[in-house]
């Protein structure tokens, strides 16, 4: 059971898919290595936040996900 990445908003366009599985464990550098090109650059940017299993990370570099975890990649919200 891998780590599931969920791409929200325009990140899903950059990824070309809404979700992607990657093998765990996964830290911040491992995540960036799994996301090439413009997608990786966008995720690296200050405006994109991460949530692991529904909890926001205060510091993306502190990412430490394991198999079965869900990482949401969150660009700025549009609001309702």
């Amino acid at each position: 059971m891998p780590v599931k990445l969920v791409f929200l908003g325009k990140l899903a366009d950059l990824a070309g898919v809404p979700e992607q599985d990657v093998p765990g464990p996964l830290d911040w550098s491992g995540l960036l290595a799994a996301l090439p090109g413009p997608l990786g650059a966008a995720v690296r940017g200050d405006k994109v936040r991460l949530a692991v299993n529904g909890t926001l990370l205060a510091d993306k570099a502190a990412l430490a996900a394991h198999d079965g975890d869900e990482i949401a990649l969150l660009p700025p919200v549009s609001g309702g």
Partner: protein, 132 residues
């Protein structure tokens, strides 16, 4: 709304807001996405914050997701209170928060394709009113 009103017989007044996808001749469709683990938790927290800030008999927050057309209803907020001032302020507050800092991502379909939407500066100005 009829059920919400009936559920709060003790309330002196109920304020409701229905928001529609803004009519715009150039927009063919609006798609609104959410991420349930954050969006639903955020709306629960918003409802709790509203109930903590005003003496209400009840509050209702409902938001559609998926693909909608201009003119379609997209959001419903209602607040029931003994005093109408509380109900007005609570509904206004809830809408300002839903519009600017709720976990939704939306994009519009125009003649040249889909475009992601950023929050309007007016939405942030509306929100700032409540932290004075």
């Amino acid at each position: 709304m009829t059920a919400f009103s009936a559920a709060h017989p003790e309330a002196g007044g109920i304020v409701s807001f229905v928001g529609k996808v803004r009519p715009d001749d150039e927009v063919e469709a609006l798609e609104l996405k959410h991420y349930a683990p954050l969006t639903l938790k955020g709306m629960d927290e918003l409802a709790d914050a509203v109930l903590a800030r005003w003496p209400l008999d009840g509050v209702l927050l409902h938001h559609r997701t998926g693909t909608m057309k201009p003119g379609d209803p997209i959001v419903l907020v209602a607040a029931a209170a003994r005093h109408r001032r509380d109900a007005f302020e609570a509904a206004d507050f809830a809408m300002d928060h839903l519009k600017s800092d709720a976990w939704f991502w939306k994009r519009e379909k125009r003649a040249d394709g889909w475009h992601w939407i950023e929050p309007r500066s007016q939405d942030h100005a509306d929100l700032a009113r409540w932290s004075e």
